[in-house]
Structures are given as C-alpha cells and as structure tokens.
Symmetry: C2
Subunit: 282 residues, 2 copies
C-alpha cells in the first residue's frame, strides 16, 4: 500500500523548537495506528528516535525521560513517562521565538559534531546528566518548582557550553537569548523567589517555564517588555495575561534586545502526546 | 617612603583586554626596579598574580606560560618563559574591539564563580588544559602555526564553554564575537590552509592571530570588511595593510554584524615585557 503523507506544524520548523521531534512522533504514531500495531509508546519511541533523537520523548504526553541506552546501535535508547500531565498540570511555558530562520546545522548533525569533537561532552554525558536526570525526576514527582528550575537552567547552560566547545563551535544562543536569560534572573530576583526557569534547545528561542499562579510575574513581565501587539498574545490565553506589569530595574538593555529580537511568542503548557484523528487526506 | 603612582593604558580598560594584567605587571616591575630588588620575573610573577591572575604572565615578553601550582594559597603559581619574542617574531595579532564598555563582572570574580559552580570546569582544569599546555609549548618551539591555531581556538571555546556553564551563566562573547569566529573560519577555508586563529579573553573582543606573511589574507580581509576609516588602521603599520581584499562568499550577515559591532582595531604582535624607564612624575 502506498501512503501519501502531509506533515504540518503550527509553530516554526527547523528553528530549534523540536519540530522534527513532533513530526516524527506523529508520523510513527499515525502509521502504528493505521496498521493497528500493538505498540506501546516506549516501543514506538525506539523507531521514532531514528528520525530525530528527541522524537522518542514526544510520543508521550506530560513529563517524559529518554534513557541513553548502552548498545552501539541505540536499540535500547528509548523514552519513558516520568509523570502524566495530570500529575503537575499547572506548568506553563512561554516561548520567545527569537528566530524563525532555518538553522545552518540540523540539531542531529550538530549533536554528532559535539560528541565527536567537544573535550567536555563525555564528562557531561557520563557525570553531569545522569545525576541531574535523577534529581529532575524527583523534582517532577515532588512538584518542586525550585528544584525543577535550577536543574532546567543549569542543564540548558551545560548543553550550550558543550555546543560552544564543539570544533568548529556551534552557537545556538544569540544576544536575544542572553537577554532572555538576564530577564528571567531579574524576574526571580525582583520576586524574591524562583518563579521562572529558562531553557534553550538547538536554537535561539527561549522557553520560559513557570507555574500558572505566577503568570503575572513571569508572562506579565515579558508582555510588559515586548508589548501586547506581538503575535502570540491574542486569543483567550494570551489576553488573560496582564501587560502593564513592572519591568525589573536595570533591564533597559535586555528589554531593548528582546523587543528587537523576539518576533513572536507562544503560550503553552504541559499537554498530551500524539492524538489519533479520523481526518484523512482523501 | 610614600609613593605616588599613576597608571595609564593606551588600550581600553576593564574590557577583557588584560588591562589589569598589564597594569599589575608594570606596577610590580616598577617597584622592584625602584628598590633595586634582585627579583627574577618568575619571583615577581608570584606577587603580580595577587593583583590579577594573568599579570604573572605579563612580566615576561614573548611567549609565556602560567603554571597552576599545587598549594592552596597559590605561592607556587608562577609564570615562566616558553620562548622569547625573537624565537618566533612574525606572530601578529589583530584585536577587534567589540566593546570598550566596562564589564559587569571582573575577570577575577567571574573566574571564582566558574570554579565554584561550573560542572565542567574541574574537567577542563584537570584533563583538558594540562595536555593542551604541553602541546602549545611544542607548537611554539616548533613555530607550528597550524598547531598553535588549533589549540588557541579550541581552548578559547573551551574556556567560554565553562563561563556559559557557570551559575548564573557568564557570557563574555556576543553576536559580534561570533561573527568574528565565522569570519576567521571563512578566511581559513577560502585560503585553503590555516592562516588565522581567534581567541577571546574575558570580554567580547576578538584577538586574531596570524603570521606576518599572511597579513593580506587576514588583516586585509578584516580591513575590507570593516572599512579603512575605523580607528586603528592609521599609522605605518595599519596603512601597510591593503583594504581592497576580497571578502569570502556567504559572509554578508557576519560582515554586517562586524561593521555594527567593532568600534576600533588594534594591530599588534608579540613583543617584550615591562620596560624600565627614567620618566618620573616629579
């Protein structure tokens, strides 16, 4: 049987926002459903991973982990559920789209260069990540936002450090990204507790995590900085965010960089995995 | 005896261009000369290091190394000569001053934060740097520019990776710095061999190394990109650099970032250490 497949995203493609992960997860899930294969998300994650590494995680909703595995071919490199979305549903994410431009280097190719040439990556993989993964699973189980935030930001910085240590260096973050880092630090400092965490994937876009109770401090501050007319603040969710909040002091340069560099925001949160639909192309 | 001392730089201060190193090295050398202390540069480097770590190296001319030492207090952390300037005199440096703004964090305070919080720094200090130092001394002894260049750029990237892995992250390089990295890669690629190497200290300014025979390819390309009217191209040395060279293809974005971000260039080379003068304030 020949299959005709069309893949569409409602967010920027090849911009470091895991579009390949979402696409391959949806594709593998759709084919498994079509042929009524009795595969668990973990089994399917093994297949999806071959399209795009992080696709294995995207077969799950909620909070998912990805075990590295031990075999050379990666057959035991699969994803697993840490907790369903319902366990900690008030997690929110504000994505600051700093570039919708396609990347020079695909995330997969970049990661391979990093593994091959960085003098720090092996230490990261062997020593840094395993400890943090355990701590992160505990933070999710305990719904401990402060621990979640510290691990998220440290690990993002550690990953980008290894990218910068690649030969030639890979720079995913730009001056806009760094302004987002400074703004998150300033929001936490002004609030007197950790209300937000940032992370950057293979691109300059910031993903800012916060709990729904802190939406005013976090998303509200970014709306005040960026202005409410930017794409992404429309609709019920975006309009509910007040845009007249106070921008922390001393953030003039960072604010200006964010206004210049952020083209769009995406307000989202923890959700489900791929869904089966009855829509067909013909 | 009371001493009145005045310290001046002819290059930007506190901008990550080792102004503290130069100042403390000059100060320690001047005082030793004044009191006619029979101290070798290595002895003096132990004292200078307490003002600014890298000041210990600046007591030497030519190519200098800095051994970490093993004592907690750092009393055995001294500098040494790898080779005098006369050993490899045709080494040139073009400094692209990307910011003459004073830094938020001093290099010394930044380094202390990195040591305390980076999950990668210990691996850098124990595993990465010692091997590279040996290889670098060999490259200098052999006047092997290709090895020198590879070690210089990799170690710069490794250092900035550890800065980015600090909590909170320290970002010395900015979008202008990264454009300089890409331009150096493009110049090497267009020339078909390694003619230049970049390094960044605790600031966004690029230091581009090349041999005098390759001045047209390296400094000439940067002059063609930046325009010859920028501060630093005047004088005998700057005017000798042709500014009508070909900019490598595909470098439009990097060229634009460099034109926007570089405020001044400094053309220099390997030289001597602190010099005794008979000039006095009164």
């Amino acid at each position: 049987m020949k299959l005709k497949m069309v893949s569409e995203n409602n967010f920027p493609t090849a911009a470091g926002l895991a579009s390949s992960a979402a696409g391959f997860a949806a594709l593998v899930r759709a084919i498994a459903d079509l042929y009524q294969l009795p595969s668990s998300p973990t089994d399917l994650s093994r297949i999806a991973r071959q399209g795009s590494g992080s696709a294995c995680r995207s077969l799950f909703g909620g909070y998912a982990g990805w075990r590295m595995g031990e075999t050379e071919a990666g057959s035991d490199s699969t994803a697993y559920e840490v907790a369903p979305a319902s366990h900690w549903p008030d997690m929110r994410a504000l994505i600051l789209v700093a570039s919708a431009e396609k990347k020079d280097v695909s995330s997969t190719a970049g990661m391979q260069q990093t593994v091959a040439t960085s003098a720090l990556f092996e230490h990261r993989a062997k020593e840094v990540v395993p400890k943090r993964m355990k701590a992160m699973e505990k933070a999710v189980h305990d719904r401990d936002f402060e621990a979640f935030a510290a691990l998220t930001t440290k690990d993002s910085n550690n990953f980008h450090a290894c990218c910068a240590d690649t030969d030639p260096p890979i720079f995913y973050m730009n001056d806009t990204s760094r302004a987002a880092v400074r703004m998150c630090e300033a929001i936490n400092s002004a609030t007197g507790r950790t209300v937000c965490a940032y992370t950057f994937d293979a691109g300059p876009n910031a993903v800012v995590y916060y709990l729904s109770d802190d939406e005013v401090q976090v998303a509200g501050t970014f709306k005040a900085v960026l202005g409410g007319r930017l794409q992404g603040w429309e609709g019920k969710r975006g309009e509910a965010v007040p845009g007249d909040g106070k921008v922390p002091e001393g953030m003039e340069v960072a604010s200006e960089l964010l206004r210049k560099g952020v083209s769009r925001v995406i307000l989202t949160g923890v959700g489900g995995g791929p869904k089966k639909t009855e829509e067909h192309l013909c």
